[in-house]
């Protein structure tokens, strides 16, 4: 085998081919689907981005947040308040929202990261409820009624379009940012540190890892990504209210998407998002007419089944299969090792 064939071969590895195909398909999809399906697809990508953001904190660093809707909602609110009250350009507003949420996540993270396990998750629930109550009662944000964004001319600069496709491409670009960050985490010191903290914080400390700093980094990255997606969301729907963006179930759904897809994986959140959104949108569309509530019944049932039968997520299941194969190989190797050792001792 000469050098050239090796290079060509390595280009066609599944690890490169599959993501490339996924990216290509995602980019081409709006050529074939329009209208409501494209709207759903946009939401799928949106949730995949949120799930990826959750994954950095929950999947890598092991801090299972149940308040990611707060980051998402705060991003959306800061963005729309700047647009409505100060007539700031939506893109500038987005950057400000991301910075703002970044700062907020540090302020929230410092006390909350003293807690672990269920205490951490429940404290995040409490934060979510507090933020929701504040926004329901706050006049400047329109209270429970919410607020509308001013309608502007269709242009990229205005973040408003007559067509759905540009929205889709924007969120897709945001999602690719999230995917790149996940790739980076998988192959960087910070990513290894996050995983070490998740596995054993005491041992991580002994290896020179500043736990609070690492967790804060995960939280800030995660929060800012959610704020970015939240900014997209409000420009996409042009309307926002507290019940819509700060819903506890939204937080649950974000976590669920990441866990179902596969904790700590790059493409897991996309798989999770496709399944969860098709499930919830699908059951709403097909069963909503028969009787209110049946969609929830199916959705709830599916969540329970997944949690019981596929607790490691889809990617996790694939990895388990690979692990089993590796284990078989290993047993054989160990058998030969043992035989060798006996031989060595015999010689000595």
């Amino acid at each position: 085998m000469d050098k050239k064939t090796i290079q060509v071969k390595s280009l066609f590895r599944p690890a490169i081919i599959v993501p490339a195909a996924v990216v290509l398909v995602l980019c081409l999809l709006p050529q074939f689907i329009k209208g409501y399906p494209l709207h759903t697809l946009t939401l799928i990508i949106l949730y995949a981005a949120l799930g990826s953001a959750w994954n950095w904190l929950g999947g890598f660093a092991g801090q299972a947040s149940l308040a990611h809707a707060v980051f998402f909602g705060l991003g959306a609110y800061i963005n729309s308040m700047l647009q409505v009250h100060f007539e700031v350009n939506p893109w500038v507003a987005m950057l400000v929202a991301m910075a703002g949420v970044g700062i907020i996540s540090i302020l929230v993270g410092l006390p909350v990261f003293r807690l672990s396990g269920p205490y951490f998750s429940i404290a995040t629930i409490a934060i979510g409820e507090v933020v929701k109550i504040i926004f329901i009662n706050w006049k400047a944000t329109g209270g429970a009624v919410g607020m509308y964004l001013p309608i502007r001319e269709s242009s990229l600069l205005n973040f408003q379009f007559n067509d759905k496709a540009p929205y889709y491409y924007i969120i897709l670009a945001f999602y690719f940012v999230a995917v790149s960050i996940t790739y980076w985490l998988k192959n960087s010191r910070s990513g290894y540190y996050f995983r070490a903290i998740k596995e054993d914080p005491q041992a991580a400390k002994a290896l020179g890892i500043n736990i609070v700093q690492s967790k804060l980094l995960a939280m800030v990255l995660s929060g800012m990504m959610c704020a970015m997606v939240g900014s997209f969301y409000v420009n996409f729907t042009l309307y926002i209210d507290p019940d819509n963006v700060f819903r506890f179930m939204t937080s649950v759904q974000i976590a669920l998407i990441a866990v179902l897809g596969g904790v700590g994986s790059v493409w897991g959140p996309l798989i999770g998002s496709v399944i969860i959104l098709l499930l919830s949108e699908g059951s709403r569309a097909y069963l909503g007419g028969i009787g209110a509530g049946l969609d929830f019944v199916i959705y709830g049932l599916m969540i329970m089944l997944i949690a019981i039968f596929q607790p490691n997520g889809i990617i996790g299941a694939v990895e388990n299969y690979r692990k089993k194969k590796r284990l078989k190989k290993r047993q054989m190797q160990e058998a030969t090792d043992a035989a060798k050792e006996v031989g060595d001792h015999g010689a000595a």
């Binding site: 010191r189 540190y193 005491q202 400390k205 002994a206 890892i209 590796r326 090792d337």
Partner: protein
Amino acid sequence: MPQRRWAIMALLELTGVTKRFGGLTAVDNVNLVLNEGEILGLIGPNGAGKTTLFAIIAGYLKPNEGKIVFNGVDITGKETHKIARMGMNRTFQVVKPFSDMNVVENVMVGAMMRNASVKRAREKAMDALEFCGLAHRADYLGRELTVANKKRLEVARALASDPKVLLLDEVMAGLNPSEVRDAVEFIHRIHARGVTLLVIEHVMEVIMPISHRVAVLNYGKKIVDSDPKQAVSDPEVISAYFGSTDEGRGDASC
């Protein structure tokens, strides 16, 4: 400090370190010096306060009183990760591998303390694994190793971070005789790399031959600090180990 290289230098110095839990004094006014290039054995019966003392040195617990100086810097009450970065590293009595990471990745985390680049860290980790005789288990998950290998993994992880001082907490407990022989040889090799060692061991027979000097703790107090031969014949040590119960003898024989 090249001008002091040939002088005996105290790398780690504990003065009057005391730790109380409620009414119990786990570590009682301990003074201890660890010289550069030394292997110091820290022994004592169960519950003598050895592991507590380790936890204090490594920054897991804050002492109620006393001072700890490492490499000329006061590290009393400093955070664990900062102490680790200064070049003092430890292993755990109850092993703590990163169970769902594989063996190289485990060691890479240690190597990353001095190498920001993942690629460099991987090379460094492979070196450490080679040194510890674990290279053939590189792609195993942390959880899949035997106890003896988990202990080696902890050492490899610590060594990958290039420590000046390594605190070994009962690395030989629970090993069979042939594994203990390997471990003794292993400790000598670590020392030959220029690492100063503070070794906790419950079993006296194991620690005596490898230590340059031993300190004996009993009920939180340091009762003896001498060369190993003197320590074994010290009446206080004998009564601490064999006096009231024969628990020590039982452990020592196995």
